[in-house]
Amino acid sequence: MSVELDVFVGNTTIMDEEVYQFWLDGYTVNDAVKVRMEGGVLEEYEASTDVLLSDTMDQFRTFQMCERLLHTPAKLANQLLFQIPPHRQTMLIERYYAFDNAFVREVLGKKLSKGTKKDLDDISAKTGITLKSCRRQFDNFKRVFKVVEELKGPLVENIQQHFLLSDKLARDYAAIVFFANNRFETGKRKLQFLSFQDFAFCAGQLISNWTVGAVDNMVEDMDVDLDKEFLQDLKDLKILINDKDLLDQHKSLVCTALRGKTKVFNEMEANFKTLSRALVNIAAKLTNTKDVRDLFIDLVEKFIEPCRSDRWTSADVRLFLTYYTNSARTLDTFRHQVTWDRYMDVIKSCILKMYHD
């Protein structure tokens, strides 16, 4: 004796957010039922396992049928098959495109290709996120990437328009797309302490200051590709370290300003030249794609780690970077103020964001 067929269809599609989350997380029906039972829904309604099973199956089926529509969220508002109130639609989309930080950290900066997709098993094993959920998240990244890749106009707005996501989520996706496009290295062990949100912040900085779109906002790929001309100009900054006078002048300006304001003054003074060389060298190398990819690892290795080993606090770092940036402007023989500011503003905020345990 068995239930052969069991369906429930409402004129307004009934969706339980909790069950939706189980589905998104890649639970099987049985696992979801188990978790729901433990959650105590049963006692409240004196429902039996059968009732829960039937309800869960029904909803999973509904979500499956909706999934096709969620791939192009704009369709969800126009389709006739499911009558879903607008606020529920928003919820469905937002949750569908939401991702796990643990997962995105694994994929961030990798090429969204078939090769990476094959590695999802490993990621799943490592993060404890079900393979099904990994696939969904990966496919979401890829889908968004493909759609916005060829669009003109600001990245975040494009994502928002095509996928109807909230501002926050659209920004995160912009970061993912940006990282995937530039293939920034994020997976090295030294970078493990950085969260997705750290990188997303940096991506935001880079997008709004270093890309083509930062100067001209109607170019294809404007927000995805870095401004080549700008990268070329960065070479000119080398004068700051190659010209001995300039370097000394720079150092003394910064030291004068900071004296007495920080506990790590001595360390700063001793390391000034190393740090300055590191920052300028990073800038000068950015014409190489390979070095662009290593931007974050370089920042960590060459700047953050030395500071940390000298026990600088973030306030110290902030103080240093502020005076370091500002005093370069006052150097008489330094003529690349514009490029310098465009470079240092981003570097400064990125380092400050990344400077934590």
């Binding site: 068995s2 239930v3 069991d6 369906v7 269809v9 089926r61 006739l80």
Partner: protein, 1045 residues
């Protein structure tokens, strides 16, 4: 050339990819009506084509306009091979043919393919220019309005009720034609869909003609059904109630005080109840001679099983004489008005107050037929004759109950291979003749004021002669007016009348039953089935009765008994809504009697069970807020000597043991219902009584339009359909085992529904409609359609108080100025009536006040009308004093839906973010709470077939059906939206035939749905005028009552 149909194809969207190479589609559209076809240009390489075609014009007869659907086919152009069909849209033109309905059809329609389901959408514009046709002999009936709604549609008034209309058309089923062997499943499905669409168009036109002949302009309670008889053909049949309706141009409050307020109030008013008291003992003639005789029809074999369920407490004797000697002058009158009609049947279930005078009980008839190929589709006489025969039987049953009419009438069939059970049932009633007279009745709503305002209990009074009862019944004086006799239990197929005074809330009551039967062929099979039927009905009835008692209720409304036939079993399901009617005596408890009192353990067992039952009863009393007052009985004394006797269910030989009867006292002095456990069957019965799981708190359920006792609906509602198919793998099942499985199936289904809808609590599942079928051997299918509506608990309290006060005030004032009201009345409703309102009913129902008293069912209002004779007055004095102290829990009655309506609509005004798809509400009820229907756009009647050859890929049978039902909803909504509507009321899924062949990875499903497309507005938007309609109507009513007294 009486009509010009114009269609324009605007655009498409979300089309499927038809060309794999380009991932695009080169779509074009064919528009076909009758034999004319037009094509649009091809819109190359687009999934969202813009055709913006010219207007395609079809010049056609209005007959064709009624029969034919507009057929739109979307195709993918292919230069080298045949064009591929993407899908189709059928548009029923009928709503455009009535000037009052829709004027244009415009909107996005899902493009539907019977194999792939919905594949994109198409935007279409359709218009019709009609020319007047004055030809007397025309075959068309354009302009006749059809309503699925079984009450008087809001925003109309009824000028006259003409009566029963029926028609059926037959054809060969394309699926069984030889050509089906060589054509694709798609072609075959489309042929079927088209044929059924044509047939229902034709059927509607023919019924329309009949209505025009009778002088009417509308059909209410239109019920159309398909019989898929397989090899022997396809029958489409319909019944309805012909009326003359008048549109109320505006809805000024002044004009129809009662109905526009919470327009809902009107609709509930169906009133009739059929006293089916007692166990339907008088099944008088299980397959008796008369039936057998009439059964031998020309074609083959048939057996008719007359099953008259009228009531009667006590063990079943035969009884039934049909001699209901006419009791009153009134009856003679009405009778004559109705006698001219062949079938004085009404498919309506809700009536305006005063329409029903008495209700006799449920009448039903079933007949088993052997199907035979329909040789000549143009002369469907055989089927006609079958139904004719059944209707005659119903008519004579009604007569036997002393009634001249049948209300809440419906017909159904169940087919398995070549055996077909035809069923009809309704409620025998005596109607107010006024409503049948030409011109005497302007509108129910207005005119009820001038009615002799029968007391609220009037419909409960027995219509038959007490000394010559058609069956043994147990009569008492009405607990409300004390003047007329009432049965102790009342069964009806109609909705609860508005004027009925009810205590507490109602409850869904179901009786479920399976009976195994041997597999057989032909006559043997038919005989076996017809032999089983009476026993099934008897048991269903017994179950209903027991469950009713268990809930301390005394009446059933909306009773629907289905018996479905399968190859090796019969499944019976009876659903109804139980209530406690104040006019009927309080039910006694249930008492169990053991057969062998000597055995101690056995006795203990019995007393345990008794205790459980008693506990359940008292729990139920709290749950449904039913607290009958036992005192009443003492004051009144027992009018009928026998009333003290124990009535027994089941053959009982031994008297109940003393111990048990003592327990029984806890339930009052009323007669208890004795259940004897003298065999395992009885144990089973008791067991099943107690296994009905209680509803989770916050939930109520009923199968009628409205839940008695809940009046403060909020506007949030959720219509749903749930289908379950259960496979019985056990080959050796007993009847008991089967019963348990079926019972569990239904209970679990209900539990699932409660769980699903838990977020809506407090809420009531209304119009719970169960449909059972036995699609294959070992399969039981149950399909449920209902609507969950939330209500507001706190509001209820306040309103209730307000109503109470109002009612009391009113009663007082009435008592003081009895004679004034009638005069006032006349000025308010100027249309004088040719018939003197008091004529017939006066002496019978004399001075009832009643509607007003409803809110305070136990208080002085009912007191007032009883005072018409001084003797009673004396009696009542004592009583009144006692009643003063009575708790008032009983009274959240229907007082005024209005105030709730107002606040309700406020809360539902929350703005919705815009979307390109407009929201369409669906409900099986005839109204939407918190709203007013301002326009009926036409009937929706759609038939779809879906088939798949990749069942597994589509998620198995559940995935397949889930998707299909969602698609059907989507198509209904799209059609309603295209007509300009925002809701479907009186929605029902009349057919859901599911067939599967998992081995071949195939499944097929047919669904037929219907309803009325409407435009509603929120009550708050249309409310300015609705000042205090309710009060005034109440006053009018009671005033009228006094006029008479």
């Amino acid at each position: 050339m009486p009509g010009k149909l114009k269609a324009k194809i605007v655009a498409g969207r979300h089309l499927p990819v038809m060309d794999r190479a380009s991932d695009l589609t080169d779509a074009f559209v064919e528009v076909k009506f009758g034999n004319t076809t037009f094509k649009t240009d091809v819109c190359p390489k687009s999934l969202n084509p813009q055709w913006n075609s010219e207007w395609f014009k079809f010049e056609v007869d209005d007959e064709d306009l009624q029969d034919e659907p507009l057929q739109i086919t979307v195709l993918d152009h292919d230069t080298y091979s045949a064009n591929d069909a993407i899908g189709k849209v059928y548009i029923d033109i009928d709503p455009l043919l009535s000037c009052e309905a829709a004027t244009v059809i415009s909107g996005w329609f899902p493009i539907y393919d019977t194999i792939h389901g919905i594949r994109g959408e198409i935007n279409v514009l359709v218009k019709v220019d009609l020319f007047n046709d004055l030809n007397r002999f025309r075959q068309s009936s354009c302009g006749v309005k059809f309503f699925c709604t079984t009450s008087i549609p809001k925003c109309y008034r009824v000028v006259m009720v003409h009566g029963f209309v029926e028609e059926l058309v037959v054809n060969e089923d394309p699926e069984y034609q030889w050509i089906d062997r060589i054509r694709t499943p798609r072609a075959s499905n489309e042929a079927r869909q088209r044929l059924i669409s044509l047939m229902s168009g034709e059927l509607q036109r023919k019924i329309g003609l009949k209505v025009l002949e009778m002088g009417g302009n509308a059909v209410l309670g239109y019920l159309q059904c398909f019989d898929l008889e397989g090899e022997s053909g396809l029958v489409v049949r319909a019944i309805g109630t012909a009326c003359t309706l008048d549109k109320l141009s505006s809805l000024p409050t002044a004009v129809l005080p009662a109905c526009n307020s919470p327009s809902r109030e009107m609709k509930e008013s169906p009133l009739a109840q059929a006293p089916s008291h007692g166990c339907r003992s008088s099944h008088n003639s299980p397959v008796h001679s008369a039936a057998a005789a009439s059964a031998r029809l020309s074609q083959g074999f048939s057996v008719s099983v007359p099953t008259l369920i009228f009531t009667g407490m006590g063990s079943g004797g035969s009884a039934g004489k049909d001699g209901g000697p006419l009791k009153t002058l009134l009856r003679q009158q009405t009778q004559s008005a109705l006698e001219q009609r062949e079938f004085p049947f009404f498919t309506l279930t809700c009536f305006p107050p005063g329409f029903l005078i008495h209700v006799g009980g449920v009448v039903s008839a079933r007949s088993v037929k052997l199907l035979d190929r329909i040789h000549n589709p143009d002369e469907p006489e055989t089927r006609d004759a079958w139904w004719e025969e059944i209707r005659q039987e119903i008519k004579s049953h009604a007569k036997a109950l002393g009634c001249h009419a049948v209300v809440g009438y419906s017909e159904s069939t169940s087919i398995c291979e070549e055996v077909c059970i035809l069923s009809a049932s309704g409620t025998a009633a005596i109607l107010n003749p006024k409503f049948m007279q030409e011109g005497c009745l302007d509108s129910y709503s207005e005119h009820r004021l001038e009615d002799p305002a029968p007391p609220s209990c009037g419909f409960c009074h027995i219509p038959y002669d007490e000394l010559n009862m058609p069956f043994p019944a147990h009569l008492t004086y009405c607990y409300n007016c004390r003047r007329q006799k009432v049965p102790d239990v009342l069964f009806t197929t109609i909705d609860l009348p508005v004027e009925a005074t009810v205590m507490g809330k109602g409850s869904l009551i179901q009786a479920r039953l399976c009976r195994l039967k041997k597999k057989a062929q032909g006559e043997v099979n038919a005989t076996a089935i017809s032999n089983l039927l009476p026993f099934m009905e008897y048991e269903l009835h017994t179950q209903l009765m027991n469950k009713l008692k268990l809930r301390s209720m005394n009446a059933l409304f909306g009773l629907r008994v289905q018996i479905s036939v399968g190859e090796n079993m019969l499944v019976g399901l009876a659903s109804a809504t139980g209530v406690y009617l104040m006019a009927l005596p309080a039910p006694g408890g249930i008492q169990i009697a053991g057969k062998t009192p000597s055995d101690i353990t056995y006795e203990q067992h019995i007393s345990n069970m008794q205790k459980k039952i008693n506990d359940t009863i008292s729990k139920n009393k709290d749950l449904y807020e039913v607290h009958p007052q036992e005192i009443i009985e003492e004051v009144i004394g027992s009018p009928i000597p026998e009333s003290r006797q124990r009535s027994r269910l089941f053959r009982s030989h031994s008297e109940s043991s003393d111990e048990v009867s003592e327990l029984d006292l806890s339930h009052g002095k009323k007669d208890a219902f004795v259940l004897e456990i003298d065999d395992t069957d009885a144990v089973e019965d008791i067991h099943s009584l107690l296994t009905d799981a209680p509803m989770p708190s916050g939930f109520y359920s009923c199968n009628t339009e409205i839940m008695p006792g809940i009046y403060n609906w909020t506007s949030s509602l959720q219509m749903f359909t749930s289908v379950r198919v259960f496979r019985l793998n056990n080959v050796n099942l007993t009847n008991q085992g089967l019963n348990k499985i079926f019972n569990d199936l239904c209970e679990n289904l209900l539990k699932s529904l409660y769980f699903k809808l838990r977020s809506m609590v407090p809420c009531c599942l209304c119009h719970l409609n169960f449909a059972v079928a036995v699609p294959e051997e070992e399969l039981i299918q149950v399909a449920v359609t209902a609507v969950a509506m939330t209500f507001d608990k706190e509001q209820a309290q306040e309103n209730f108080k307000a109503n109470m006060e109002k009612a009391i005030m009113k009663v007082i004032s009435e008592n003081e100025e009895q004679l004034q009201f009638p005069l006032e009345l006349c000025t308010e409703t100027p249309a004088p009536q040719p018939f003197s309102p008091s004529k017939g009913t006066g002496h019978q129902d004399g001075g009832g006040i009643h509607t007003s008293a409803r809110a305070t069912s136990v208080d002085y209002s009912s007191f007032a009308d009883r005072c018409s004779t001084w003797i009673e007055l004396i009696k009542l004095k004592a009583q009144a004093i006692r009643r003063g102290s009575i708790k008032t829990t009983a009274s959240q009655e229907k007082g005024s839906p209005l105030p709730e309506g107002r606040s309700r609509s406020l809360r539902c005004m929350r703005p919705f973010p815009s979307s390109t798809v407009s929201v369409v509400k669906m409900t099986p009820l005839s109204f939407l709470p918190g709203t007013r229907i301002i326009k009926y756009l036409g009937i929706i009647n759609m038939f779809f077939i879906r088939e798949t050859t990749s069942l597994r890929e589509e998620g198995g049978v559940s995935g397949f059906l889930h998707c299909f039902i969602a698609e059907v909803f989507a198509m209904v909504r799209a059609h309603v939206a295209a007509l300009g509507g925002n809701a479907v009321v009186s929605y029902s899924m009349k057919e859901c035939v599911f067939m599967e062949n998992p081995n071949k990875n195939q499944a097929q499903c047919l669904i037929n749905v219907s309803g009325d497309a409407v435009i509603f507005v929120r009550e708050s938007e249309a409310e300015a005028t609705a000042a205090a309609p309710q009060t005034s109507s109440m006053q009018n009513l009671s005033g009228a009552a006094e006029a008479n007294a």
